[in-house]
């Protein structure tokens, strides 16, 4: 395989770029802007020269106009010569519907202004048309587009797939010259996989090889993203546009020696800090990590400062209606709001005017996310984005310190794009077969051109073809088969008159997630629905967990379909934090960096002054913050020992049950995999009542008479996959993911024969389907894909294997330590995930009590 040639480029000179522009375009541009932005100096020329390019710039870096300037320039030139044809010259794809609307507006305006300028000069210019098509586009608008073909087509990946199967309308894509893919950093998931196959189909369909232009926020590993954009065996330039000025970031740790900020006193302190920050800036954007926290902040700010914030504060999160969110965005743009509070919804590109300060409440869990969020501040070209982390406990403190360091040093955590996803493949093969008949080798070749499938084996490909041919149920083949494959002619085509209709009404990769109704399962209020939670929350819940909904407490018993059954009037206090479901996982890279940090601190602990200075320099923080970090580590060292990236400490202690607490600081995705594997082994060893708890910093297994050595020996880098395949079998999480995969593979049709299936029905059917498929073969492609998704996308089996390999090669030492109680570093893990646990309010007292015990143990030494 010929290697991709990936090349980093430099910015060109302003005069050089100006020369590339048509006089009218240049006149228009410099009538509006003083000069080219840095991003434009990087990107405009290569596009003009028809080179594939990935432009990576922080948010607000004028990427869109950079992408379009050369394209508009080219089109204006043709239009003035009266040579503009009725075809699509450029396709712009964005995963966000709303953004597409934004872009459309951003294109129409310049075109109108340029046309005006041309007319004023007495020049005749053909009309350059921009068309928008998303899921929201009306039928009449779509019809209009067939009559007046847009030259620039703005759309989403799913709508593009639909267009490509439209027999007549797709013809407009036959001579496509440019493809722009925006928000690439948001495509490190199955949607991205879908898009990458889409781009290959587009390229194959067009007789001209379109230039691929990718727009991304700061992302890593950037060379891989470039390959993702252009596919295998193709060249790509990378414009890595750095922020001119440093971002102004700082860390605020409210507690003097903060164990946790959840107590009432600490809350007061927190809100005073927030208030001060808000008052000292014109417009502040506060990011929390969950919707609940968003609502709570607003509620408490109002509580602590009655009347002060009325009308000046707004919440923005995905559970709100489109109109509500739009209103907040408008008010921000106009400068009407003093503070907006958001979870993840305001992270992405929508224009929200100028923000002077971004506050990150609690760690955003990855450097790229932190940069995205802080990048929302100072939207103007030359303003300094300003951000502050506000940490809520000691682990949060360490995490944010490292995030800050990595941000300053521009070390971005790496993303993973799913590889060889068989469900998305099935959907695309179907789409391809609907468009025309293919030679099977030709089809495989196209698929392997996609970065996400270049290692696809012939066996896997044929197993998907076989599935689509309905081979798994010969008796019902005439109903099930979506394609036919003729082994003698080696051709593949679609089957059935309904093929296109089924494809159009069931296309997409975003799983339809329903809301789970929470129903009281027993007692007085039996049968009544008390509210709803989302599927992600359900996925994380264990039987017996107590959670809060609408102000009341419920104990989760079990779920069936789209209902969760609970016990009401629970006396026990909440055991699962309300933010549990939306908890973003800590990136593996940052987790390892924290481990390394711990190691460096451990080496210097004997000299307090030197250590504090080291911390200050290493993470660029204040003396106060460095002191807090120092004391935290000192406490841990004095109590037992410090776990680092080279030393994985396994603590053995007893607290009603026996505990093995692994200080595996690798992020919760890796810990999800490791904990399940060890728990499975422990259960196989006949240990009773095994329970598991995980977070980003580690995991624990509890049970009776745990034989730590046998358990540790039971999991190796070689058997991890086999153990996990069995461990996840029959779990709810596999069932749900199977449903998603079955829907994507079109094995469960959401819409069929004019009727649509509720998510509940889909879930019920998928339960039965899973049993049937399991009986058929454990290697049925869709089942294999569900497993792959759980192990690779939801968990992180690859890094888990890497950790185990390091242990086997002795690069990481395992140290088993018996402790009288949980150590300081393990405290948060235990209290937050321990399902037997006491009140959340008492949690503070528990922590304080534990802390005292720690000090006693340390003093006693």
């Amino acid at each position: 395989m010929k290697e991709n040639k990936i090349e980093f480029i430099e910015a060109r000179g302003s005069a050089e770029v100006k020369r590339m522009l048509h006089p009218i375009v240049a006149e228009w541009f410099f009538g509006k802007f003083r000069d080219f932005s840095l991003t434009q100096l990087y990107g405009v020329a290569p596009i003009h020269e028809r080179r594939n390019i990935l432009i990576s710039a922080p948010t607000g870096g004028t990427k869109t106009l950079t992408a379009f300037l050369s394209i508009l320039n080219y089109l204006v030139g043709i239009a003035l010569r009266n040579e503009l044809e009725d075809k699509m010259y450029a396709v712009y794809v964005s995963p966000l519907r709303a953004l597409s609307g934004d872009i459309f507006v951003n294109l129409e305006k310049p075109l109108a202004e340029i046309t005006e300028l041309a007319t004023a000069k007495g020049l005749k210019m053909q009309t350059i048309r921009v068309g928008l098509r998303t899921g929201d586009t009306s039928v009449s608008e779509r019809a209009k587009m067939t009559r007046k073909v847009p030259h620039i087509f703005v759309t989403t990946p799913e709508s593009l797939a639909i267009v490509l199967t439209a027999p007549k309308f797709s013809e407009n894509l036959r001579a496509l010259e440019f493809v722009v893919v925006d928000e690439i950093h948001a495509l490190a998931n199955k949607r991205g996989v879908f898009l990458s196959l889409m781009l290959e189909r587009l390229q194959e369909f067009s007789v001209i090889t379109p230039v691929r232009i990718g727009l991304s926020a700061t992302i890593a590993p950037i060379e891989e993203i470039a390959k993702f954009l252009v596919g295998t065996n193709r060249d790509c330039l990378i414009a890595k546009v750095e922020l001119v000025k440093d971002i102004d970031i700082g860390l605020i740790s409210p507690g003097v020696d903060l164990l946790t900020m959840d107590g009432a006193e600490d809350q007061k302190r927190l809100y005073h800090i927030l208030d001060e920050l808000i008052q000292n800036h014109k417009t502040t954007l506060i990011f929390t990590n969950t919707r609940n926290a968003t609502e709570r902040i607003i509620h408490y700010l109002d509580d602590h400062f009655p009347g002060k914030y009325s009308g000046l504060i707004g919440a923005h999160h995905s559970s709100m209606s489109k109109d509500q969110r739009f209103m907040i965005e408008e008010r921000l743009r106009k400068g009407d709001l003093k503070v907006a509070v958001s979870s993840t919804s305001l992270e992405l590109g929508i224009d929200i005017g100028s923000i002077d300060l971004v506050v990150l409440l609690r760690s955003p869990k990855s450097v790229s996310r932190a940069l995205q969020r802080i990048g929302r501040a100072g939207h103007q070209l030359h303003a300094n984005p300003k951000g502050r982390f506000v940490v809520m406990d000691r682990d949060d403190l360490m995490e944010c310190a490292i995030l800050m360091k990595n941000m300053k040093e521009k070390i971005i955590d790496r993303v993973d794009i799913p590889v060889n996803a068989l469900d998305v493949l099935a959907q695309h093969i179907y789409g391809m077969a609907i468009s025309r008949i293919w030679d099977i080798d030709e089809m495989l070749k196209l698929i392997r051109n996609s970065y996400c499938y270049y290692t696809l084996s012939k066996e896997d490909f044929m197993s998907v073809i076989s599935y689509l041919c309905g081979d798994y149920d010969l008796e019902h083949r005439n109903v099930y088969a979506k394609i036919w494959y003729d082994t003698s002619t080696k051709q593949v085509g679609k089957r059935g008159k309904l093929a296109r209709l089924i494809y159009l009404t069931n296309i997409g990769t975003i799983p339809e997630e329903g809301f789970i109704s929470v129903v009281v399962g027993s007692g007085e209020a039996k049968g009544s629905t008390v509210g709803s939670i989302d599927e992600a929350f359900l996925e994380k819940m264990k039987k017996g967990d107590v959670f809060v909904l609408g102000g009341a407490k419920y104990q989760f018993i079990h779920s069936k379909g789209m209902k969760a059954y609970v016990i009401a009037n629970v006396s026990r206090q909440p055991t699962i934090p309300s933010w549990f479901s939306e908890q973003l996982p800590l990136s593996y890279d940052v987790a390892c960096a924290i481990g390394k940090f711990r190691g460096l601190i451990a080496e210097r602990l004997s000299n307090s002054l030197e250590c504090v200075k080291f911390i200050k320099d290493y993470v660029y923080c204040s003396s106060e913050t460095a002191g807090q970090i120092y004391r935290y580590c000192l406490e841990q060292r004095d109590f037992s020992d410090i776990p680092t990236n080279k030393k994985l400490i396994v603590e053995q202690f007893k607290q009603e049950k026996e505990y093995l607490l692994f200080h595996s600081l690798y992020g919760r995705r890796v810990n999800d995999a490791l904990s399940r594997a060890y728990a499975y082994v422990a259960a196989q060893l006949k240990h009773r009542d095994i329970e598991v708890g995980i977070n980003d910093n580690g995991f624990f297994i509890s049970g009776e008479n745990l034989d730590v050595n046998k358990i540790l020996k039971g999991v190796t880098s070689l058997n991890l996959r086999k153990i996990l395949d069995e461990a996840i079998d029959k779990t709810d999480v596999l069932r749900r993911r199977f449903r998603h995969c079955a829907a994507r593979s079109l094995m469960i049709l959401r819409n069929y024969k004019g009727r649509s299936k509720s998510v509940g029905k889909q879930q019920m059917h998928s339960h039965f389907l899973l049993s049937a498929v399991n009986e058929l073969s454990k290697d049925f492609p869709i089942l294999r894909e569900a497993r792959r998704e759980v192990l690779n996308d939801l968990m992180d089996i690859n890094h888990a294997e890497e950790v185990l390999k390091k242990i086997e090669k002795k690069e990481i030492e395992i140290s088993i330590i018996k402790t009288p109680l949980v150590s300081p570093f393990g405290l948060i893990l235990l209290t937050q995930s321990h399902s037997d646990f006491v009140k959340v309010e008492d949690r503070i007292n528990f922590l304080k009590r534990m802390h005292e015990l720690h000090l006693k143990v340390i003093e006693g030494r």
Binding site: K543, Y680, R688, V692, G703, K730, K757, L769, A772
Partner: protein
């Protein structure tokens, strides 16, 4: 009278006469799914036949009476002719293994009579054999309360039980065996038979109402879990099983 549990079927013997009881079948369920756009790869019929073969050979290949407790089919409507024929085939096959076949009408068995007509069988609401009354379980009948009746054998509930052990859990079909007493009426020994329907275990009575026509104290019923090799394992009272 002797009561035996042969896998997911019940075997009763009295005076040398043996009666085998088959629970809810729901034949055609996968056809209903297929019609609504789910490509389910299963030959329920084949599984039913092989499951039945295993059981009938375990009891000597032939019994005097076989009772099917209702819900023979899931639903008709969009089902193809083949499905209909399979149901006929299954019933005919079962009939070759007994002298007398009794089919009890279940709540899903609307429009069953054309099929049975073809076979010359009449479906009944309930059936009484010696001191045992067989019914589907969704409806009450006065005759069931007769003083001559000591046992009620019912289907309808699809009983199953989920067994938890820390991180693991598994669901199994089971029989629920207990007593039922209404004031002024004679006490009845109740045996609830699991569904014969392959692939899906059923409903755990601790999680859901099994929707019988009577209010049974199921938590105090004995649980007999259907295991492999036609065995059944005694787990004691339902309320004692860890949940």
């Amino acid at each position: 009278m002797k009561i035996d549990y042969i896998g997911k079927c019940l075997l009763l013997e009295e005076n040398g006469e043996r009666t085998l009881v088959i629970g809810d079948l729901h034949l055609g369920y996968e056809g209903a799914m297929r019609a609504s756009g789910v490509m389910i790869p299963v030959k329920l019929y084949d599984k039913c036949v092989s499951d039945f073969d295993l059981i009938i050979s375990g009891v000597g290949g032939f019994v005097e009476n076989i009772i099917m407790l209702g819900d023979i089919k899931h639903e008709f409507g969009f089902i193809l002719q083949d499905e209909w024929n399979l149901i006929v085939k299954f019933i005919e096959y079962v009939r070759t293994r007994c002298s007398k076949l009794v089919i009890i009408e279940g709540n899903h068995d609307v429009v069953l009579f054309p099929v049975l007509n073809k076979l010359g069988i009449v479906a009944v609401d309930f059936f009484i054999w010696n001191s045992v009354a067989f019914a589907h379980g969704d409806k009450k009948f006065d005759e069931l309360y007769s003083d001559n009746v000591n046992y009620w054998v019912l289907g309808h509930g699809h009983p199953a039980v989920t067994l938890y052990e820390g991180v693991k859990k598994e669901k199994y079909k089971c029989f629920l065996v207990g007593v039922y007493k209404e004031t002024g009426k004679k006490k009845k020994e109740v045996i609830i038979v699991p569904s014969f329907f392959p692939l899906i275990e059923g409903t755990d009575a601790r999680e859901f109402d099994l929707r019988f026509a009577w209010e049974f104290d199921l938590m105090n019923f004995e649980v007999k879990v259907v295991s492999s090799n036609l065995k059944v394992l005694d787990f004691g009272k339902l309320r004692k099983i860890k949940y």
